[in-house]
Symmetry: C5
Subunit: 386 residues, 5 copies
């Protein structure tokens, strides 16, 4: 089972299984609006009750079951399952699973810094964007949490991709210059790691694209707005049945709903979220592009190696052909001498010393002609090149 | 015809054919709203009449004809054909075909446990979700039945996938370390099994995705609501012709129907079903991802093996080239000695004992030089590596 | 030009060309509402006038021109071009081309049995669906004709697929066990036949899917309804310009027309047709699945054979390497003896009988060591396996 | 640069470049409504002014720039760039570029025959459709011109495809029976020609499909209607801004515009154009199908040849193995005799004549056993078949 | 790391990294409406403030981060990231990054010439479009800037493609005629360069297509119109909430918004922009087609080379087989003579001179028969061809 490169975590599932041995599957960390994190060790019913999601949605975050990456908008919560970042975001708090996982620790820190509304903890990105703080202050709590998660996952996948590139390009160039079992095996493992990483990046990218393509799914993520608008709308007349919709999770599903959108436009203004998602979509798309380029580079290298090996072999066989021709001619010459080496008495045994010269000369000349003819035949047929 | 791996049922059709020998094709089990199951041995006209579907739809469940996986919403029934689970669900009862099939038996048991509305029989999932019982109680009968079927098929396919992975990864690693006919054949069979399994998983996944993408198809599955709303609506004025729609099966078909959706939104609220389907869609999508990763792993391994074999061959031929060079040089040396071994009398036969040394030494030196030259030529041409 | 398997008609075009030699291209058979068939030998202008289609549409049915499979709804007729079944269906009669073609004859018989509205001739499907007769009686004439055609083409393609599977799986298994030119050629022909058959099945499937995806295209096929509704509607006010649409063939084309659909829903209720098409779509989809599985099986087998052949070759070369090693060592030994076989007088010729033993023993030992060293070198380098 | 088959014009661009040498790039022919053609040698500003298109659109027809095939509806003109047919169609005249090009000459003749409205010149298609003349008389000028262009390009591409098929199938069958460099090179060139032809056919097909999928794009091509309706509509009230649309080129672009379509349905009745385009779409789709089938046939043949070559090689090596075995055994026998041929005196030299027999017999038997053992080993290992 | 062809810039990222060493990352050039360019060396907050975009959008233009090509419409600016052209366009000024980059310099010059509204600087395209000047005068400032950028990027990519074609076709033809490591490596690098170039062209093309497919995204780019209409609209009643949309960046996102489009058609008339984008879309599509054709040509050539190499090898092995046959027969003959060369006394040694003749003749004849038999066997088995 030595199929895992050392560069990229071998197999998400396997990793998860290993992790489960060492820690409780129920450990959660809870962040409130002030960015204070507190460990939560409750059972799943407490969580379901707290964030008002049902058992089916909670199961998505179960590290034992390997669900694909997902961002789900529910009535009062966003259920987030992005690789190792498994979180539930409500309008007022964030629940993050497995806060002690080594990949999750940075997310925890980032959340603590950026969740509070005040700008005091906001010098992320190297302390150089003090001005930014002002304008980003306005985004609602749930988007600040969502952005931290997206940034973490995008950076994580980008870092994995860069690591893979760092390992793959030299390995491929080495393989091109020297085809050995060791190099081949190394490239195979890198390719396998790349395939798995591509699937993961693709999954996150698809999830973001799907969200971006549907205004209503995006509107479902505006938890604060939904919480605020739930009551006042119910007074108006014909907008009554529309009010049910934004509070109803994915009530109106993925199918196109053009006309609805027109009527509650004021409510469903998803510009802010769209711009947020677009930025990370572009980043993850760039990561996917890199992986695609890497894959094509690997494929091209493999094609090249195949032709190279075939060509090498043909040249080896051409040389062997020359040697075979030599062997045949020498064998012929040897045969002639062997005939004269037989111990059967014959007339020339008696003092025909000119014989010896003739046998040696004629045998040699004939062998040489034979060799030349074979070579010329091969040349004429185009079998051996210049 | 030994093309079936032992891991996954070789060929669904073949299996079905074999099964048909041993049991009646007409055996059905009927569950009512209390979860009581009773064997039903009636002909197809009785069934068609009972659930009000037509012959064409019933034919889909015919195990003799191998229809692909389907979930069809009809006027008063859901026709379900998911692999071995062939069922008709109405608002009040479930008809399940072939209840004695070994893969269907768990479905039968699960239905008996979960169909009754009361929470007394609801400690499924290991008795640990007593609280869940309360909130899930409200879902209508047809969805409880549908969920059992979806859960059964998803688990079944996930189990088959895991079995396949368990068999495939070691087999591939073994093949990598030792390429033998036996290992090759084993991988070939696993690959073939994987291809078939992927097609089946894909089919179920596509069916779920298609349902999720069309609100109206989902609305068609709300049998209880349709049954309830059929009469009262007919009083209202301009909503009259809409009332016909939900009772008309797939009357308004797959094409986009944006504007309609806006008007009967209250009626077509498909949130509950969507969340149910989404969960199983994600599970089957995860299964498909696993199979896709497996396929890519197999493909990568095959590429690797091909290059490995080619490289191995080149190395074999390089060694053979050395041996051929040796043969040619030894042949040349032999030829020289053979010349002096001829029984033709010559002058040196008479007491030139220094001759012998010179012939042996010069022959040996010349042969060695010849061997070195061939080797150097090959090295310079890059034919043999370091 | 021996590229056609015997299993599936080699090349539709070629077949058609051959057919044209033996029969008139203008022979049609006409069925009226009572199922009575009468041979029609008129020119194309008579037909164009009779069914009110234009020349361009009639050309689609020309067996000389190989148009792909199509179902076209025109103002007063359905133009049907499904492989060999080339027909024009109006609300009252069916025109079928080439009724003497061996593949068309069953269609002719089926039409005669099922077109009449009365249940007396309806015991198709083995006489066991007397009850069905009642409920299917109501479907309009053009759908009864359409169903016969679809059933015929689906069964035809399914039969071809089954034939191909019957031939292909054993051929592939035979090829796996013994790779010979004959088996290879056989598989190549089967693969080629499969490619052509897949294209044809795909074409029919795509045509059905496209119809199912557009309610208006389906509504265009309700010839009876269009014929009936043409006059009364013209009285109503704002529905006036809608009335033009159903009578106008594919006036409103494939682009989405959401809003229109909402208003003439009562008129465009396509449930019946959709259920009819869905059933055959599923059947042809199943056929396509089988072909896809077959193709993947063939591809996998080819990959397997390639690796198998490569592996076999390497083993052959390994054995040859051993033989070459043997040859070199024996050559060396021979050389030694040949040296002592030279007829140049030397001292040991005089009574050193112990010499002989030493030469033989040392030569043999040295040769054996040489052979062992070559073998060990190859083993150490991993060139020859266990 | 000998990569072009003789069957299909090697490289469109290259051809165009060559053409430009010999003729003016500005030569146009102008047809008016009576079908009279007159050579026009004006600069591009005169043309832009005449047909009221802008420079950007005219550039599409520039033979120097190789734009892909396009049909563009502009305010008062259709800009047509279909391979060699580069034309501008207005409601009253047709401008055709490069009328002296050998492929364009038939289009010129066809336009002269079919553009006049009267039926006197209408006996195209072999003079047998006198009746057709009457009904087709009604189509507007721009569609008559468009149909001539589409028919010409479809026939042209179909003819190229047929030529290619005529050349390719025999070449492939020949290659299958004899793999030679000459045959390989021929197939390579045909494949390359096919790839280019497929791209061109695909381009035309896609352009037609895109037109068919958008009613508004089709409506833009109704130049006569637009010219007629421009004035009267402007009186009506709220339809005012709709009137701007049809006269505004592709004002309302490709995005779906469902609701608009509903309101100006009377105006945008595109049935006639749709039926015209559908017919040629089907023809070009059939051509594409043929090319696809050809490509798959070529691919299958290549796979077959690869396996065939590999299999052939293995058989060659098997035979060589036998010969190598023979060589080893004969070498062994020779060695034995060589030992006894040494000129070292030994006891048996003295009158042991039975020795000779034993050496010969035992040597022969031992060699034969050695040969048999090698053969049996290879048979047992499955290296050499029956 | 020698994986870069000399034809196309090896690796965009690598290039960028190298560039960053030599120049400030913050250098911008600013063009106002008169085409005057002035170097701007401010930090990013000044820029964000000047053009009113947020930090996230500015980050897209960061040359350190390799975002894919993008055209984003924001409230008051178009953010343009097309390969090396990174610009922000507002209704009155253009900001261009890295004006000293060698690929950007032509863009700078072109902007200076074409941005001023007066026709005096408009003799681009070789001074021959004086008439064009008049009609293009009317396009708003932001479109003039956008067109310069699109033209530059399309020409740039087309030039790169042509360079690549110039290098690739001869290299492929050379490789076909002589397969050497050097040629193989050259083709590999060209293929790798092509893969990267294709990805870049595809990205630009996709971005244009996506814009063309969504009228609202296009409407967002009408900066001047938005700037003008922002105030007057706010007076009207129910159109109030629509007015918010065009000023709100991508407020209404990619999902279909059919109904909205109908209402603000007068405002969203995107004909001018669509025609502009269409022209460049067609150009970049033509470039992509060329690259696709090149890729298929490379793939076909590789297939050809593979078969060619395989065939060559088989012919080499056939010749070797002949030589092996010769060796075996000569060995046999030698063995016979060696037997008679043993120094064991036997009867014929005594004066049987006829023996010698018989041995020589029979040995020769037997060897020749042996050779013929092997050859015939190979011929009969089809192993060696004519």
């Amino acid at each position: 089972m030595a199929r895992d490169g050392s560069v990229v975590p071998a197999d998400p599932q396997a990793m998860v299984v290993a992790k489960k041995k060492t820690q409780s599957a129920r450990s959660w960390i809870l962040f409130d609006a002030t960015g204070q994190g507190s460990i939560l060790d409750v059972d799943k019913y407490a969580i379901m009750h707290r964030v008002q999601i049902n058992a089916r949605d909670l199961r998505i975050l179960d590290p034992f079951l390997s669900y694909p990456s997902t961002i789900l908008g529910r009535e009062k919560a966003i259920v987030l399952n992005l690789e190792h970042i498994k979180a539930i975001i409500t309008a007022e708090e964030v629940l993050l699973r497995d806060p002690t996982d080594e990949h999750v620790v940075p997310v925890v820190e980032e959340l603590q810094r950026r969740l509070p509304k005040q700008g005091d903890g906001k010098e992320y990105l190297g302390g150089q964007n003090d001005n930014e703080a002002a304008e980003e202050d306005e985004s609602p709590f749930e988007f600040r949490a969502l952005e931290v998660a997206l940034e973490a996952i995008c950076s994580f996948l980008a870092a994995r991709t860069t690591e893979l590139e760092m390992a793959a390009y030299p390995a491929l160039d080495e393989l091109t210059s020297k085809i050995s079992s060791r190099n081949l095996d190394r490239v195979r493992k890198l390719k396998s790691a790349m395939t798995r990483l591509t699937a993961r990046v693709q999954k996150v990218r698809d999830e973001l694209e799907q969200l971006l393509d549907d205004d209503d799914d995006m509107a479902d993520l505006y938890l604060s707005r939904k919480a605020g608008s739930a009551s006042p709308v119910s007074g108006s007349g014909h907008a009554n049945w529309f009010a049910a919709s934004p509070t109803g999770g994915s009530k109106i599903s993925r199918a196109s709903r053009a006309s609805i959108a027109t009527m509650r436009l004021d409510e469903n203004d998803v510009e802010e979220l769209e711009m947020l998602l677009e930025a990370y979509f572009m980043q993850i798309d760039g990561t996917l592009n890199k992986l695609t380029t890497l894959r094509e580079y690997i494929d091209d290298t493999e094609d090249y190696i195949n032709i190279q090996l075939d060509n090498h072999r043909n040249q080896l066989i051409q040389l062997e052909l020359f040697l075979s021709s030599g062997t045949v001619c020498l064998s012929f010459y040897s045969l002639v001498t062997a005939i004269f080496g037989m111990n059967i008495p014959y007339t020339w045994n008696d003092d025909h010393s000119y014989m010896f010269k003739w046998v040696v000369i004629l045998g040699g000349v004939f062998s040489a002609i034979m060799f030349l003819m074979i070579t010329l035949f091969a040349l004429k047929k185009g079998l051996v090149g210049t």
